[in-house]
Symmetry: C2
DNA sequence: TGTATTTTAGAACGTACGATCTAGAATATC
DNA sequence: GATATTCTAGATCGTACGTTCTAAAATACA
């Protein structure tokens, strides 16, 4: 064997992720990447293949470290209705406090990369499915414990939440003001609390 | 005065719009544009300024000819609830029959251009406001004639519809299958038909 | 310690980008 | 018909792109 790598591969990957996240795939140059990763172009190609392969790694890193982490923090530790609320609260809070308007790397890639790259389309579609699954599990559990209405099937409510999340990510890149983003989220969450079918209200 | 222009400016603008629509702003080169517009680079710069100014014209052209036209076709001629349904039906149908997965130029630009160009952010935000206004007018009218529930305020339902539209446009670039897109739209439209608050159901 | 192997840095490859310039062709006004 | 103006085509500008190459530095195993 031979000389070991000088740089921290995980730190370099995180730096690459941040580049792709704030500038997008095409607009991020290999020179940008190398500079922010603290390595040279040759090392980048040695360690990660080419730009597209590095992007794939960076996207996986993002999904595991941001989306996956958020679900893992909220789903096991909060009641289902609260987990959904906390999920959206965090996304709104991060969006409002993001002067670069980076949005979400997954959704950004769904629009920039997926349409003309079937491998990424498949990966992204799978992650969107995981998100829908998270919402569906929360809604179903909330319907069982009575904290979420059963006026709509859990699958339908989950898709409404997924749609809300995607629209939130779109809006956050154009108009990331609290009133705007909360105006998108609040009516969606209100649906979860709609009265049950059984007793009359008025 | 002097020699008149040889090419049809409106046809050229439509061709430019199609380029930006299918490839995005950055990925569309001035040479691409000139070729599809049927003119030379010099004529393009003479007639439209630079690439950014041409994109601005192309985006306005898209908004007027696609979004504006769709609203103008449905809002005056259909009952409010039907206008909303026809709007989404058309977007789903066009998305499914779009092998290039172009999506919507406005939403694509909201993610690609708006975050780092405040002028475009303002323009796009304004158009999103017009869309929300269309939904709000339809919902309010539908609530008046009883075809749409008043279990939620018209503004909230309008924002839910706007969110649904944005998510539809995101999903259409990644997974433009009828089942997927209709699965996003159907639960949102179902909300409009929710029972009114007054009589008990079960 | 010697050698094979993989790292590093940075120059260099060919290509494409947005934009401009140089001519020459064409036309509305005088 | 002369002239001033705006059009056209295509070469050309400087810059940046993704990628590869060259050579020197460094280390695990014999």
């Amino acid at each position: 064997m031979a000389r070991p790598r000088e740089f921290d591969e995980d730190a370099a990957l995180s730096a690459a992720m941040r580049c792709f996240w704030s500038r997008g795939y095409e607009a991020t140059s290999v020179r940008d990447l190398a500079r922010h990763m603290g390595i040279t172009g040759a090392s980048l190609y040695n360690a990660f293949g080419d730009k597209r392969a590095l992007f794939r790694r960076a996207l996986d890193h993002y999904v595991a470290g941001t989306l996956g982490d958020r679900i893992a923090r909220f789903e096991p530790s909060l009641p289902p209705r609260a987990a959904i609320g906390a999920f959206f609260d965090e996304v709104v809070r991060l969006s409002v406090n993001d002067p670069d308007r980076k949005g979400c790397l997954l959704i950004n890639s769904a629009l920039e990369v997926a349409p003309h790259d079937s491998e990424f389309a498949q990966v992204i579609s799978g992650v969107l499915g995981q998100l829908e699954g998270f919402f569906q599990r929360c809604v179903a559990a909330g319907q069982r414990d009575g904290s979420i209405t059963d006026a709509q099937p859990a699958g339908d409510l989950a898709r409404l939440l997924l749609a809300t999340l995607m629209s939130l990510r779109v809006m956050a890149r154009t108009r990331p003001e609290p009133a705007m983003l909360e105006g998108l989220v609040r009516p969606a969450l209100a649906l979860l609390d709609s009265p049950r079918l059984s007793p009359a209200v008025a």
